[in-house]
Amino acid sequence: MLHSRRRGPVANAVRLLNRRCCQLAALVLMAPMFGWTTAATAADTINAYSIWPENWARPMLQEFEAATGIKVNFLRFSSGEALARVIAEKNNPKVDVLFGGPVETFAAGIKEGVFEPYKPPAAAVLAARFKEADGYWTAVADDPLVFMTNQKFLTENKLSAPASWDDLLNPAYKNMLQMADARTSGTAVTRIFSVLQVNDRDEEKAFAYLKKLRGNVQLYTKSGGGGTLPVGLGQAAGGIFFIVDALDTKAKGYDVVISFPKEGIGTSAEAIALISGAKNADAGKKLIDWATSPAMQGLFAKHKINFVPAHPEVKTEASLAEVLKGAKIFAIDDAYAGANRKRIVDRWVAEVLP
């Protein structure tokens, strides 16, 4: 019965193919073992983990490629993930540069011994908080946190934009706030250190506040910007985000309001660092030189990226400066944050998250 069936042309082709099937499969099996298993290691290519979302990282790294001819392969991770990867790969680094991301992540990385000190030329003119004393990292931008709320929600609930940390405890926000999860996100860590700072580093007071805030939180997101879209859509009422994500939400057309607490809110320098044992260290250094200089930071405005430049010679773009006017913003002490990051995050996971 099996033989009598009609044989199509494809069946014949398949039959022919069968003969070579085993040899072919063996070849295919070998192929990925050789040659192209690793990312390119040519001198004019760098591998990087980017903590900046692709929307920011890609245009910048493309500009770098256009300016220098050096290609950057990059993969984006939230800061916790990126740091975890770099630590895991310590004995056999897969990337040359860790690009973007709040400075406390880098401070924690120094403790793990994953960075190679390198002082780019720009470091000489940078303010002290924008560079690590021994050159383990250098800042490429400054990124304050903000409160972002949905305008429609405010109107419907007859609220004005939150102007104090305690405003976020208002029962009107019950189950309506979204912000990042400290296990993965650097935004969350900066937020928690901001709360510590406004409570004069009194951990008991700070955690009491964080636990109260928990009652109003609908969701802790994996990524720092994860809550921006829900807030934009009104699925959440508001949250705490980096200004760069908040202004992007607004620019996309979502009706959101940006405000600052009167007690002050933290800003985190965004940094770049050379990975210890980097295979393309020289090209990596060129990227660090470029990113810490006006060459890159002068392009923020062109690409509508609302980071505050770290380099003193680059002017903050006018509309961004307008938003920041009058806001009380303090820098997170990176030494304190780096030294306490793991303990504070663990405590947050154990006490606040459940």
């Binding site: 069946a11 990312a39 929307n55 309506m176 993965t184 829900p230 859509l233």
Partner: protein
């Protein structure tokens, strides 16, 4: 018959060699990673310890995650099976026109071939404080979209097609004549349904519940988006433990907690399948009497219920298509193709990487499935069952476990594979080939051994017999295996999210990143692209299947479990 003795002829080194090579591969890519994971979880400086396990269990959130996972799995099993039964019963007993059956098949196929997150994304938009359905349509205020209910609903919609595919042949296999006899003996319809149809379907129902339970237990994507912080489940907790805190041991222990229920379900399901379905012995098959086990009114209601579910599924997907075509969903609804432009320029690496990985994995997975299936069905008697069990392990285990085990096993020498394409390909081949294996075994049981015997008695060796007689006959299984590996390469995330690297990334991982970066448009565009390409490849493979001399028309049991 002394066939197996003949296969073992010492001259037939090819078979022996294949067995050895396959066992080496299974040892390397199935057993070794699992043992490494267990050793990370339970060994401390070479000494066995359960202290870390106790430490993990001491955390209330982890205990809650275990209970939540079991609860969610159980509920998905029950509701999903009920929904699958509704569809299967309507199709098998509803006398629907073939056209409608095709529509139902298409609607139920969609969730099976979609990338993860698709239903979850649409759920977020539809429900919640400003959801299109809860707020805009129904006017509810302050609804919450995160938690058990929405996770359950999204998983039921994603996985009920598995129950449908499992139950449809079961119900079709129950002869209508049997029900007819009960009618002619004076039974009422509901009574017939309760005392004849349902009992005969029970093994199938139990099987479906277990399959869905396992799929839900393994699901990582849906809870990541929808479960929120109030309803943590094990796969997502293990993921956060590893990616965020790089706590391999913690992740390994959470995985072991997941392993226990998964193993129990697997063993239960094996014993159900081994026991087989009830055989409805009715003597001569005879012409089917027209099925009248449902009244016309009941038929109408059944059809309407199915149509409503199918429509809801289509609604969820059209929302996704819409989001991929407008500037900024919810704020700026100008039509644009920009997101597609983005995925083919900025996202090109992910697409190319995924396709390369899929294209290499396809022939390997197909061949591996056919070889293992052949050896299980016809190979040397010793070790057949062991090979069957071992070859199913990576499939039966939740992807999170497999991914974590691979990460632990292959991160450092002696076998450092992280960062390569090979580790992702191996993960797919050894995880998603069981469909090909199962189909091969089923086909081999239908192929008369005399065919191969004849070849051998004419002097051909096993290898030649296999290549020239058996392989063409099991071609449908090869294609089924190829198809499943392809679909999974395009849609799976739970295991491979741990294995992507700077050199090799995947579309599904990009979708997740996009969703967390306010890049909803590209996420939706990627999803639509994946669905389109998977459908195209499936259509191609089905066309190939129809051309085959041995095609019997129903081999495409895609064997699609959890992502």
């Amino acid at each position: 018959m002394a066939i197996s003795a003949q296969v073992l002829r010492p001259a037939d080194r090819a078979v022996g060699l294949t067995v050895v090579v396959l066992w080496l591969l299974l040892a390397l890519f199935v057993i070794y990673p699992l043992l490494m994971m267990l050793s990370v979880a339970f060994l401390d400086g070479g000494k066995p310890t359960i202290a870390p396990l106790i430490a993990v269990l001491a955390k209330p959130s982890h205990r809650a995650a275990l209970l939540n996972s079991l609860l969610l799995g159980g509920l998905v099993g029950l509701f999903g099976t009920a929904l699958g039964f509704l569809f299967a019963f309507t199709v098998a007993r509803g006398n629907l026109p073939p056209r409608w059956v095709r529509v139902i098949d298409a609607a139920t196929l969609l969730p099976l071939i979609s990338p993860p997150f698709t239903t979850s994304i649409s759920f977020i938009f539809s429900f919640g404080p400003r959801g299109l359905i809860t707020h805009d349509l129904l006017g509810f205020k302050g609804t919450n979209v995160y938690g058990l209910t929405s996770t359950l609903a999204a998983e039921v919609l994603t996985y009920f097609p598995i129950a449908y595919l499992t139950l449809r042949p079961v119900l079709s296999g129950i002869s209508g004549n049997l029900e007819e006899m009960a009618f002619s003996l004076g039974s009422r319809r509901l009574h017939v349904f309760r005392t004849v149809t349902l009992p005969l379907a029970i093994p199938g129902l139990a099987n479906a519940v277990l399959l869905l339970f396992a799929a839900s237990l393994a699901d990582f994507a849906t809870p990541l988006i929808l479960a929120g912080n109030v309803f943590p489940v094990l796969p997502t907790e293990a993921y956060l433990q590893i990616t965020g805190l790089f706590d391999l041991r913690g992740g390994a222990i959470l995985s072991v907690m997941l392993l226990v229920p998964a193993a129990i379900v697997y063993l239960l399901q094996r014993s159900w399948v081994a026991r087989g379905h009830f055989v409805t012995v009715t003597g001569k098959a005879g012409p089917q009497s027209s099925i009248r086990s449902v009244t016309p009114t009941a038929r109408l209601w059944l059809s309407l219920a199915c149509a409503a579910v199918a429509l809801f599924i289509l609604y969820l997907y059209s929302l996704l298509v819409f989001a991929s075509l407008v500037s900024a969903f919810g704020a700026d609804h100008t039509w644009t193709l920009r997101h597609y432009q983005v995925i083919f320029t900025e996202g090109r690496k992910a697409i190319v990487d995924t396709l390369i990985i899929a294209l290499i994995g396809m022939p390997l997975g197909g061949l591996y499935g056919v070889l293992v299936g052949y050896l299980i069905a016809r190979g040397p008697a010793g070790g057949r069952q062991a090979m069957e069990i071992v070859s199913m392990i990576n499939y039966a285990l939740p992807g999170t476990i497999v991914g974590i085990a691979y990460l632990i096993a292959f991160n450092d020498p002696p076998i450092a594979l992280t960062g390569t394409a090979l580790i992702i390909i191996a993960c797919y081949v050894f995880r998603y080939s069981p469909a090909g294996i199962r189909t091969t075994i089923a086909l081999m049981q239908q192929i008369d051994k005399s065919l191969e015997e004849a070849s051998r008695s004419l002097g051909a060796r096993s290898a030649a017999t296999f290549r020239r007689v058996t392989l063409p006959l099991v071609m449908p299984a090869f294609l089924a295996g190829v198809g499943v590996v392809f679909i999974r390469s395009m849609t799976a995330i739970s295991a491979t999210i741990f294995l992507v690297s700077i050199g090799w990334t995947l579309i599904t991982v990009r979708i997740l990143e996009n969703m967390t970066e306010l890049s909803l448009g590209p996420a939706a565009a990627f999803s639509v692209f994946v669905i389109a390409i998977v459908m195209a490849v499936m259509a191609l493979l089905n066309a190939l299947l129809r051309q085959l001399p041995t095609a019997t028309g129903e081999q495409m049991q895609w064997g699609l479990g959890g992502g």
